[in-house]
Amino acid sequence: MQTVWRPFICNHCGLSIARGRDAVKSQRRGLRTRPNHPPRPTTDGDVVFDTRIEDGANAPALESRQSLNRLTASAEDGHPAAPSSLTTSYTEPENVDQVQIGNEVFDLEDVDEDSPGSEAEGYVPAASWEGLKTFKPSEWDAQAQYKAFKSRVSMREPADVERAVHTSLVEIFALRQAGRPVDPIYDAWESVLDHDDLTPKSTSFQPENDGSLALRFGNERQRQSILTKLLKDHSISSENTKGIAAAVDELVANNSRGEEFQDGAQGHAALDDSWRDVSLTDPKIRFAVMKRASQMLGLRINDPDIMRINDAAGLVELFTKKPKPKRLQEQLGNDDRLKGLLNLEMFNKRWTPHHKDIELGREKLIKQELIARGLAKSTPQRAH
């Protein structure tokens, strides 16, 4: 799709009116940038706002660009907004309440064109986009038009990574074991599950007969609660006839606060580590967990690294691994051997004798003395 620049041509006078960047220049020169014509009357007398370019056969002759300096239309041309006197520079029409179109004179009403849905006489809602104002794609708000799969901000803290991987495992295993598709969880960047859904009371990974780990729920209500949250489907029902809301209320009432607050400092129950040993050798599970965790953390893992991991603990290591520093300065700063050396100092910039003066305090004394002798003026402290 190629964008072609077309000049905006006034329907009545055929002048090409400056728009966009040219309009700014024209405005500075005091030239008009928008046509000041009344709406063109139709055959049945209804006045319709029409910005279409006329057919080639009926269009008035296109003026040259130099004619922009002569924006006053001549009455002899039959121009609708022509002033009575012919002038060489642009002037507003004397009588703005009336306008002459051809041989007829019309009264202009005060219409607030900016208010949408204004009940002006002759206003016709558009049934299609034909004739409406268009604009270039570059004029869109780019930010509003793009929806990414994952968030822009990435998280690499071990606590966040563990939480994200644990949550991903619970989400995916819960849906797979229920025989439901996994796709709904990718609609949002953040998980709908909270801390309570990850505690051992609610969910934990227990070994099966074949040695693999499977997700186990505290009770059936917790399973339904989690599935309802994940699928946003309140029609999930069980053999128990109680509603989901009542079940959740009962769950909250039954849980005693003393049992939950094991970690008194944070107010959250401790999580177990059974999820770390969950195997990711199945390609489908590995893909789903990797996808969900990377979405929540805003990170992308390299393909060779994804293929090397075998369990969830390996996935956590991959996410928490810091990328190699791009600059030598960062790499040297992270080197523990250099940090331990007492006779070594590292600086971001080249070390000069002036830096040594500042370090020893000489520079301050020199400045004070120069100011005292009137050889220098006091200036704001520069950052070195």
């Binding site: 869109w140 799969f149 990718y186 390609p283 060779p304 293929m307």
Partner: protein, 260 residues
């Protein structure tokens, strides 16, 4: 003893040089690549590729040969100068051979003189060199393998040209997904001419042109392009056609001394 061993009957020893039986090489291992959606870069699935396509060991010497080969072919070779026979002027001997005390000179087009011809100056010529096709193909796949192993290869299902409104939107996409200027820029490779994608990345007002990367069609890409920018974002069908076109050194039957 070896001379007393009975040879199998299937071997043919009529020729002077006995031909060894040939067997097919074992099927290569497969590695997995993530396929992403464009423009939200949502992972869609894993796709296997053979190891001898995307997991080759790094061979810097082969990459160097291929890049030099491409650079030689790209040379225009139009530098031209006039030698002494081509300079406009008379062939008259300008001073006697002997007796002047100065160097002997023939015509005034001598390179030693101002206004004379250039001594063995450049002439338009072809600088292209030859490189065996199989080495070039191996270099191509080695470059792709290097990118894969570094995690700098992203395979996209399809670049939908109609979804690209302009350079502002494209800049937003590149910055959001950490593929743009602050992350080393990216090369986007499409199967056919990208159109809108190329305009969105390669053009723009002022310093925005090419700011976040470049877009190229697969026929415009060389080994150097695969290694130049920060990462390679390639359409799956473009990658498949590349691997197909640059596999002349694969699937060869290997002479073997294993007797069946």
């Amino acid at each position: 003893m070896a001379t007393e061993t009975q040879l199998p009957q299937s071997l043919d020893y009529t020729g002077i040089a006995p031909s060894l039986p040939r067997r097919k090489p074992p099927p290569p291992q497969e590695i997995m690549t993530t396929i992403y959606n464009f423009p939200d870069f949502e992972p869609l699935r894993f796709v296997p590729y053979p190891e001898n396509h995307l997991n080759l060991p790094l061979r810097r010497d082969i990459l160097q040969r291929a890049i030099i080969f491409e650079a030689d072919s790209a040379r225009q070779g139009t530098a031209s100068t006039k030698w002494r026979s081509e300079v406009h002027g008379s062939n008259r001997k300008i001073r006697p051979q002997k007796g002047g005390g100065q160097a002997r000179l023939g015509d005034k087009k001598n390179p030693m003189l101002r206004g004379g011809g250039v001594a063995f100056g450049p002439k338009p010529r072809d600088f292209s060199t030859k490189l065996p096709r199989k080495i070039y193909d191996l270099a191509w796949r080695t470059a792709l393998s290097y990118r894969y192993k570094k995690g700098q290869l992203m395979v996209v299902q399809r670049f939908d040209d109609d979804e690209v409104p302009g350079w502002q939107w494209m800049g937003k996409v590149m910055e959001w997904n950490h593929l743009g200027k602050s992350d080393g820029r990216s090369l986007l490779v499409t199967r056919r001419s990208p159109g809108n994608l190329l305009a969105a990345l390669n053009t723009g007002p002022g310093a925005t042109a090419g700011k976040h990367g470049e877009a190229k069609a697969d026929f415009d890409v060389g080994v150097k392009d695969l290694l130049r920018l920060g990462r390679l974002i390639i359409e799956k069908r473009a990658l498949d056609s590349m691997l197909k076109d640059h596999s002349s050194d694969l699937n060869m039957t290997v002479p073997s001394a294993v007797y069946e």
